[in-house]
Symmetry: C2
Amino acid sequence: MSWRKDERRAERGYHHGNLKEALLQAALNLISQKGPAGFTFADAARMAGVSPAAPYRHFRDRDELLASIAQRGFEQFESVLTQAWDDGRPDTISAFERVGKAYLGFAREEPAFYSAMFESGVPVDSNPTLMAASERAFAIIRAAAERLAALAPPGMPRPPAMMMALHIWSMSHGVASLFGRGDAARRKLPMSPEDLLEAEVLIYLRGLGFPIDRRAEAAAAEEKPAGPWGRPK
Amino acid sequence: MSWRKDERRAERGYHHGNLKEALLQAALNLISQKGPAGFTFADAARMAGVSPAAPYRHFRDRDELLASIAQRGFEQFESVLTQAWDDGRPDTISAFERVGKAYLGFAREEPAFYSAMFESGVPVDSNPTLMAASERAFAIIRAAAERLAALAPPGMPRPPAMMMALHIWSMSHGVASLFGRGDAARRKLPMSPEDLLEAEVLIYLRGLGFPIDRRAEAAAAEEKPAGPWGRPK
DNA sequence: TGTACATCAGTGAACGCGCGTTCACTGATGTAC
DNA sequence: TGTACATCAGTGAACGCGCGTTCACTGATGTAC
């Protein structure tokens, strides 16, 4: 068995070269396998092929590693949302819908990041750089809401963008963490989380006075095969 | 130190009498202190004042204990929601609002239950009785949505109750788990989670065609002191 | 270009600790007669 | 009413294990001259 380790070492030499990165990747792997609770410092070291003392050169303790992951998660999240938003092209509404889908996509494809960011118990506001990363991600949603609010038809009271952003965020997070997660705790749903969220946001926007076509969202409900979804008789 | 333990034993005799209950309480305590990850079987035994082998008479392992807590959580959740709903008295809309507040109240006052139910990684659908308890709780929201849907004014297409229920649930869970939690991971908000959720639901219902007074929800936004909330200029 | 030296990343052995789990046991309780 | 016995809940000692953390160390890298 031990030749494996030796071989690894032979390949890479005494110095790893990129251990910090490797530890983050290893931890991510472990989190996505066993949840944020089920990874240990020693585990990560083992997976990266170094001795259990090596990680201490890069992280003070397990919590610091976890916080680093959450931070990187927020950065990647921001980048995904930014790309989806694409500064509101080609039009605000469809870009907005793309952001919603990107949100769910991230939660499903990166459950390890998502749970480190939102469910690991890392208190975001205790770490300034983590806090800043989190706020940069939220800022995308907020900017999109701002643009949407500016689109308010004449005669309609312009909704506060911050409120809209918080509403949209809570809808997205709610759907993602109940029905759209990438792990075993995902709850079954008689439709795709994407459709559920899209209908939810459209109805909400109509409630704010936006002229949303009623058929678009009705279609989302009707197209599905019958089931607990409860097609109206 | 050991007299403490002896004294405890002297008080209660050789048999504990209600150990299963005591273990559940102990675990709840530990979870609310350190999160669902931070409690151990041995810890719970110690807190209940019994030997580390004693819990095995009542639970196969840690996971079974955790599942029991989640189950009890859903039962209590159901009871809280049922009481708040009060079969739609005095009128459907205000009872519905009460349910929303009760949802947030439960999440804040029972963070240990809430996280065992929704964030502990216990897969709900792997355990039939847990699944059933979860469904009974959701059924209250669904029943309320049903009554609300039946209230649709003439000429308005009646919204599918299941969809409404899922939308409301995701909003409530989103607000609760981002802003309304009872532990350190709670995010700061320029208003109360209750007001945020209430406005969100009202706007949503208006989007479905319900005649919701616009002032009610505007008030929620305006009454607050200025801040990041972004009072319109 | 070569050499000496400082710096740094990773080693591996060691430690104390608490956990999960098992075991034969013992004390208490309930019940049959 | 009393006694014998079965059942059951909790004991406490023991185990192997893996974790977090420390330590003096060593091998590699970079740099000053």
